[in-house]
């Protein structure tokens, strides 16, 4: 445990809290990078996912593409783009945006797909326009799965942003690679602990958000059903929801 106390001492060392390599600076770099990447990826993936989810068109293509993208190792994509555009922050942005799109896209369209078809049929039958169906029915009911997708994407970007320090002077990952070069295990381990803590904190925040965005009335918490309802679909729906949203996915 000696190694860990060294690492904790490294984290607490005031020298590491000032200058160009200060922990707060690296941490905010890491966060800003993650946030911007997620915003760009969301701007592309969410509207596209809603469109696929609402119309049901292009689903096969989306599944195949995102499945294929998942098999691509991040490090390979990162180094390849870095060779093309040069060392710097552009390569990580490009590579990570590409990798953040599939989970968000999947979250957006599976959220729509998981909604009971009869609910949407009824909304149409009482006179909602297509846009109103999307806004008032599909988006609120699909939100938990979309947030689940964002959760995967966030964890993925946080993790890969660490790796991005391999090709750019960026974020908490610098401590890992700098320590590796100088064989300073306290720095490597300290940096690693910081990244892990960051990932766990964000995971916790997302877990909380996900609980809040489940529309009231849909969540399993409200089960105060009076008599045994025969409306089979409505009673099984929350279960399949939790099955899907409960999966804290993503990678590193």
């Amino acid at each position: 445990m000696n190694l860990f106390s060294d690492a904790v001492n490294w984290i607490l060392d005031p020298a590491n809290w000032v200058g160009i390599n200060a922990i707060p600076l690296r941490l905010s770099q890491h966060l800003v990078f993650t946030l911007v990447t997620l915003l760009i990826a969301s701007a592309i993936a969410i509207p596209l996912g809603f469109l696929i989810g609402h119309t049901g068109r292009g689903r096969g293509l989306a599944v195949t593409t995102s499945g294929g993208l998942r098999a691509i190792p991040t490090l390979g994509l990162l180094t390849l783009v870095a060779l093309w555009v040069g060392i710097g922050v552009v390569a990580p942005y490009v590579a990570l945006t590409v990798l953040a799109i599939p989970p968000i896209l999947a979250g957006a369209y599976t959220g729509f797909e998981a909604i009971d078809r009869r609910t949407i049929d009824a909304a149409r039958a009482v006179g909602m326009s297509e846009l109103q169906i999307v806004r008032k029915v599909e988006i609120p009911l699909g939100l938990p799965l979309l947030i689940g997708g964002l959760r995967s994407a966030t964890l993925q970007v946080i993790a890969t942003a660490t790796l991005a320090a391999y090709v750019a002077d960026l974020g908490l990952g610098r401590y890992l690679f700098a320590g590796l070069k100088t064989r300073d295990y306290a720095e490597m381990l300290g940096g690693s602990i910081l990244v892990i803590l960051l990932a766990l904190v964000l995971e916790g925040i997302f877990a909380l958000i996900q609980r809040f965005v489940v529309p009231r009335g849909v969540s399993g918490r409200l089960k105060t059903r009076q008599s045994g309802s025969t409306a089979g679909s409505t009673s099984t729906e929350p279960d399949s929801h939790s099955l899907r949203t409960g999966r804290p996915t993503a990678a590193r």
Partner: protein, 225 residues
């Protein structure tokens, strides 16, 4: 292309390294996750502990884990064992959930009728519940296989050789072809493992074959980095 042709031996060696690093985690995680997943489904308390633990473990980024593991288990920083253990942990983290969901997916009527015709709890698990949750387990294992193959490459930055070494080497020496070769080989290997699992599924679960368009029973969202 010329780089690839003149370095076929190197690529082959890295492929073998890669298989050696990725196969044990894939196999081990299944063996470990099976009892854990069963335990998670069996008792309310163990369910909370195991599934929360698995969720948190799964959220830990791989690169930092490669650095932390040696400090915990005393291996050398560049030991391949770090990569194997770390990826086994990820596999377990994912599969525990899948096993528990898979066992959940078995129809309660089927379970009860199995008991009614005289299966003991033990034989019911092996002969009824496990086979019937097979499709869900298979879907989970396919995700594990693809993400493990992909994650092995990360080990290259701490010096554990694999197809990932083609990325670091190609990057440092500015050889695009080397990186592309690494990408193609990694994706190819992932597809090979995936295909092998699908084939194994067909052989082991002949009753699922006529099931029409392959619908994933448990949507598992996973991305590898």
């Amino acid at each position: 292309m010329t780089w690839v042709l003149s370095n076929l031996g190197l690529i082959w060696a890295r492929i073998l390294d890669h298989v050696v690093l990725s196969l044990p985690p894939i196999v081990l995680c299944f063996v470990i996750a099976l009892p854990l997943g069963w335990l998670a489904r069996r008792y309310r308390v163990s369910r909370g502990i195991i599934l929360t633990g698995a969720g948190l473990l799964y959220a830990v980024p791989s690169l930092p884990l490669f650095f932390v593991l040696p400090a915990v288990i005393g291996t050398g920083l560049r030991s391949p064992l770090n990569v194997i253990i770390a990826l086994t942990l990820y596999g377990v983290a994912l599969m525990v959930r899948v096993v528990s969901d898979g066992l959940d997916s078995v129809d309660a009527d089927v379970r009860q009728s199995a008991s009614a015709v005289g299966y003991s709890a033990w034989s019911r698990f092996w002969q009824v519940e496990l086979p019937l949750s097979g499709p869900v387990l298979l879907a989970g294992m396919r995700v594990v296989a693809v993400s493990t193959v992909s994650l092995v490459t990360v080990g290259a930055v701490i010096g554990v050789q694999s197809l990932g070494s083609l990325f670091t080497d190609g990057f440092q020496r500015g050889i695009q072809a080397e990186i592309i070769a690494g990408l193609v080989a990694t994706v190819g290997l992932a597809l090979l493992f995936d295909g092998a699992l699908v084939l194994a599924g067909r052989l082991l679960m002949p009753w699922t074959r006529k099931a029409g368009p392959a619908r994933r029973t448990a949507p598992i969202e996973v991305s590898a980095a």
